[in-house]
């Protein structure tokens, strides 16, 4: 089976990073902001994996340190998403909307 080189994965992760930042900057929905954070988490994890593979490239294996780190990072990303979504739920109870523009009572 033909396998893409790690540079392709690195490029994809940079594209994902840009998409995530665009999502956080431009979207007004709180849940979409959380999705943006998750996209960036995944992009950074993929940067980690692709850089790990670049070190050993012609071989079809990755250093286990990178894999262990990324697994832990995925778990942490899940925990952060849980806290963020619980905050979104509470914000919805207060404001009856998920629009970030309506949440401007603080002086941002």
């Amino acid at each position: 089976m033909e396998v893409l080189p790690p540079q392709a994965y690195f490029a994809t992760s940079i594209i994902l990073l840009v998409i995530g930042i665009y999502c956080i900057v431009s979207k007004r929905n709180m849940i979409k902001t959380v999705i943006g954070i998750e996209i960036i988490t995944m992009a950074v994890n993929m940067v980690f994996l692709s850089l790990g593979w670049m070190r050993t490239y012609p071989a079809q294996l990755i250093d286990p340190l990178a894999q262990a780190f990324v697994i832990i990072s995925i778990v942490i990303g899940g925990a952060i998403a849980a806290v963020a979504l619980s905050l979104v739920t509470n914000a919805y109870r207060h404001y009856k909307t998920l629009d970030l523009k309506k949440l401007r009572r603080l002086r941002w």
Binding site: I24, V44, L65, F69, I80, R105
Partner: protein
């Protein structure tokens, strides 16, 4: 040389904290059955006391090179490594000490809130995370404990979820701080991609070779500085802080302002200084410029505030500017010494780092004290507006006295702790002896004087003026709230009058960071 110890010995404080945090919900359940309000608070306080005792014991037995520890058969350069040296001990003692006092204060302060078992669970986890950041010997451990600390502080900031302000501030803090950690993680990934290891000492060997590409290194330094700088609230990444501090319960504001942002400064200092030797890489200028911008912007903002907690929050950012300035002087002086051989610059660099550590200490104690005292005022007077709190210090004499000492210490009045640290910082800046540092230090001196203006205004309005209409009827807070305040006040006075043992500790810590034997 570092002494190798068993991993359980090295992890003891964290194991105790996490065990107490896991047991707190059970105590909370029993508490509900017994209709008691203080059981979980007392339990958590015992947890902090045990940890503090363990930490003091560890400090007494600390060998000159510190402890290192790893899992058997899975050690450095790939596996997890814990490293406890003088610098880590300095920070751990601070975290556990302030955590203990905040926990005592919370027993009474939080008694009207519900879900206290959750509060104490998170408080213990927050301190466990910070202790973990301080003892990490590689980026893997550092990142895991960093996120433990961050998640606990997000939940604590939005603890009073029945009000809109904590939810909104908590969400803003979460988004900004998570982005910051992800940027730092990107930096860590680039480090790993270059070196193939995450261990601090292995990385420092690899990056001290002359073959490394400096541009790559500066990109990594920028990513780490920006990433951890969001939590350290360096301007322009500080905007979460003035919202999160007033929204959180006052005890948590004291933890955030006293400890969490200091843990971020520690993470910057530990990773950047250890891996990229300041004698080779010239990032001192960047740190100094960031410090001046941070202090100036936050000072102007603080002067405009009427909300007491918001004012204190901006003042935290100002003091982070001072601490970063100390780190900047250290890095700049070291680089100057390496390029020109000026011995005075080396001395200045060591004094700058000692000053930064002493300022971490004096600001953690002073700002912790101020937030706790402000929380006590706010609970009684039911307002955060400074002008409604007119003369509240006269109505609550003990709280008022400690509040005044805290303000005077932060303003840098001798003989209090704040004077010692600011003096060391400014002395270090002037001893480097080139034009750039002289101008920079003068700007910091102006900032320091400027900060005194609003500290004295706060002192004048809240303590010196006669009692206003809104505070006529209020009485002194209960003894459990006053005791931590008075202990912190005594600490400020004692450190100010007799700083030598602590300066000694800070000096040892500074030498470990520069890897001087």
């Amino acid at each position: 040389m570092a002494v190798e110890v068993d991993i359980l010995t090295a992890l003891k404080p964290i194991i105790v904290l996490i065990a107490f945090s896991a047991l707190t919900p059970i105590i909370g359940y029993v508490e509900g059955k017994l209709k008691s309000k203080h059981a979980s608070g007392i339990f958590a306080t015992i947890g902090f006391l045990v940890t503090l005792a363990l930490v003091i014991d560890m400090y007494m037995h600390l060998p000159a090179g510190g402890f290192t520890s790893s899992f058997p058969g899975f050690g450095p350069p790939l596996g997890v490594e814990l490293r406890i040296d003088a610098l880590s001990m300095f920070m751990i003692a601070l975290f556990c000490g302030i955590g203990f006092l905040v926990s005592i204060y919370s027993i009474k302060y939080m008694e009207h809130d519900t879900g206290l078992d959750r509060y104490y669970t998170m408080l213990l986890l927050l301190v466990a995370g910070m202790v973990g950041v301080a003892i990490a010997g590689d980026f893997f451990t550092l990142f895991v404990f960093w996120e433990l600390m961050s998640i606990a502080s997000y939940s604590l900031v939005s603890f009073r979820k029945y009000r809109w302000e904590p939810i909104e501030a908590g969400f803003k803090y979460l988004v900004m701080s998570t982005l910051g950690s992800l940027i730092a993680l990107l930096g860590i990934a680039l480090l790993y991609g270059y070196a193939g290891t995450l261990n601090f000492s292995a990385l420092s060997v690899i990056f001290s070779k002359p073959t490394v590409d400096p541009a790559y290194c500066y990109i990594v330094i920028t990513l780490i500085l920006v990433g951890f700088g969001v939590t350290a609230s360096i301007v322009p990444f500080h905007t979460w802080l003035p919202d999160a501090h007033p929204a959180a319960p006052s005890s948590i504001s004291a933890m955030l302002s006293g400890l969490v942002i200091k843990a971020a400064v520690y993470a910057i200092a530990r990773s950047v200084f250890t891996i990229f030797a300041p004698s080779v890489f010239n990032y001192g200028i960047v740190l100094v410029v960031f410090a001046i911008i941070t202090a100036t912007v936050a000072n102007v903002k603080a002067l405009l505030q009427r909300d007491i907690k918001r004012l204190l929050a901006f003042s935290s950012t100002v003091n982070i500017g001072f601490i970063i300035f100390g780190l900047g002087v250290a890095a700049y002086g070291m680089h100057l010494w390496a390029t020109t051989g000026a011995n005075l610059a080396l001395t200045a660099s060591v004094i700058g780092l000692i000053g930064a550590l002493m300022h971490i200490l004096s600001h953690a104690i002073g700002k912790g004290l101020l937030f706790l005292a402000a929380g006590s005022f706010i609970t009684r007077a039911k307002t955060r507006n400074i002008y409604d709190l007119e003369g509240v210090g006269r109505a609550m004499p003990w709280t008022g006295a400690s509040f005044s000492i805290g303000l005077l210490s932060l303003a840098g009045t001798p003989p209090l702790a704040g004077f010692v640290s600011k003096f060391l910082l400014l002395m270090a800046g002037y001893s480097v002896g080139d034009l750039f540092m002289n101008i920079a230090t003068s700007l910091m001196l102006v900032n320091s004087v400027f900060a005194t203006a609003y500290y004295l205004r706060l002192l004048q309005v809240c303590v010196i003026r006669p009692k206003g209409d809104k505070v006529k009827a209020i009485k002194e807070a209960s003894a459990i709230i006053v005791v931590p305040l008075v202990l912190l006040m005594i600490a400020l006075i004692v450190i100010g009058c007799y700083p030598w043992p602590l300066v000694d500790m800070a000096q040892k810590a500074a030498f470990t960071l520069f890897q001087v034997p």
